[in-house]
Amino acid sequence: MIASVAVVGHQNNPLYLQSFTEADDALKLHHIVHCSLDVIDERVNNPKKSVLTLNESFLGLLYPTESYKVYGYLTNTKVKFLMVTTDLNVKDADVRSFFRRFHAAYVDAVSNPFHVPGKKIASRTFAKRMSGIVKGFSPGTNG
């Protein structure tokens, strides 16, 4: 179950933050996303060649806590996508395809001429698409 998704710009400014849990722990999810940014910077600046290739967009599992797992994805334009999930046995391939769909929805939202680059994404279509993608993400299937 995906708890939240976030889009962070290249100056670590938040562009989109959405939680999908009914519980009122939005603040905790924001905090987790914020901490993950440091991990992304570390991964990008000190690449571990044995784990990831230098140029891949999908950064993989950033750090696991006892109840959450955080996955990251970095685009060519230095925009970071983060996904916090409560499910403890997700497959890598599912997360990759999730991020691919996430990226496609992001590109469409940013191509909106009324969207100001650097400001938060205010598009309702994007929010709806993200809910659809999150609902369609289930660890058993290879979407």
């Binding site: 290249h10 290739t53 230098l54 140029n55 891949e56 967009s57 970095l74 685009t75 060519n76 334009t77 230095k78 925009v79 990226h103 496609a104 992001y106 590109v107 940013v110 191509s111 001429p113 680059p117």
Partner: protein, 186 residues
């Protein structure tokens, strides 16, 4: 995948945009018109580069990003490759396109008001040609500048059209300072 649009529609929109900004919106202030057109190009380039780098792995350095602009990005925009790429290895690149697609159909109207009425057969000076076509170049320069800056490489882009239909774009990366583009007045 996406829907397609006829190339003549794109030509039409660009020509009308340049003409609207130069003649109607900022008729008496061509420098402002130029800046506006370049800013529009900047935003378009910014957004386009998101879409065109979606499938690719990340670039490992600036040179790869520039090669991407010269090959894939250029062919997506103009449906052809760059003919020549030169660099002085000190932060300046020159992209040369021998048949710049957006300028191939620019015609110089011999009866425009810029020429004196007393001339029977007006001679088109090279300066006049440059003046008429230079306004059309701010948009592509803006696109390239927007694309590079979204990849994290700020630069100044200026164009040189001394022999149409060839077009040379100068990319200047400076030393971390954003120099104003050479085409625009200070």
């Amino acid at each position: 995948m996406g829907r397609e649009v006829a190339e003549s529609c794109i030509d039409g929109v660009i020509i009308e945009m340049v003409s609207a900004y130069c003649n109607r919106f900022y008729g008496s202030k061509p420098e402002l018109a130029a800046r506006r057109i370049e800013a529009i190009g900047y935003q378009v380039g910014h957004q386009l580069i998101e879409r065109y780098t979606m499938e690719r792995p990340r670039f490992s350095d600036h040179l790869e990003a520039i090669k991407f602009i010269c090959k894939d990005f250029w062919s997506e925009l103009f449906k052809k490759h760059i003919d020549n790429l030169k660099t002085n290895h000190r932060g300046t690149f020159v992209l040369q396109d021998n048949k710049f697609r957006w300028l191939t159909r620019v015609s110089i109207d011999p009866s425009s008001e810029n020429l004196e009425a007393s001339q029977d057969s007006p001679v088109l000076t090279p300066e006049h040609k440059v003046e008429v076509t230079s306004m059309h170049l701010y948009f592509p320069c803006g696109i390239i500048r927007g694309a590079l800056s979204n990849l994290g490489i700020p630069c100044a882009v200026s164009a040189d059209i001394s022999n149409l239909p060839a077009c040379k774009l100068h990319l200047d990366f400076g030393d971390n300072k954003n120099f104003p583009p050479r085409m625009l007045p200070e």
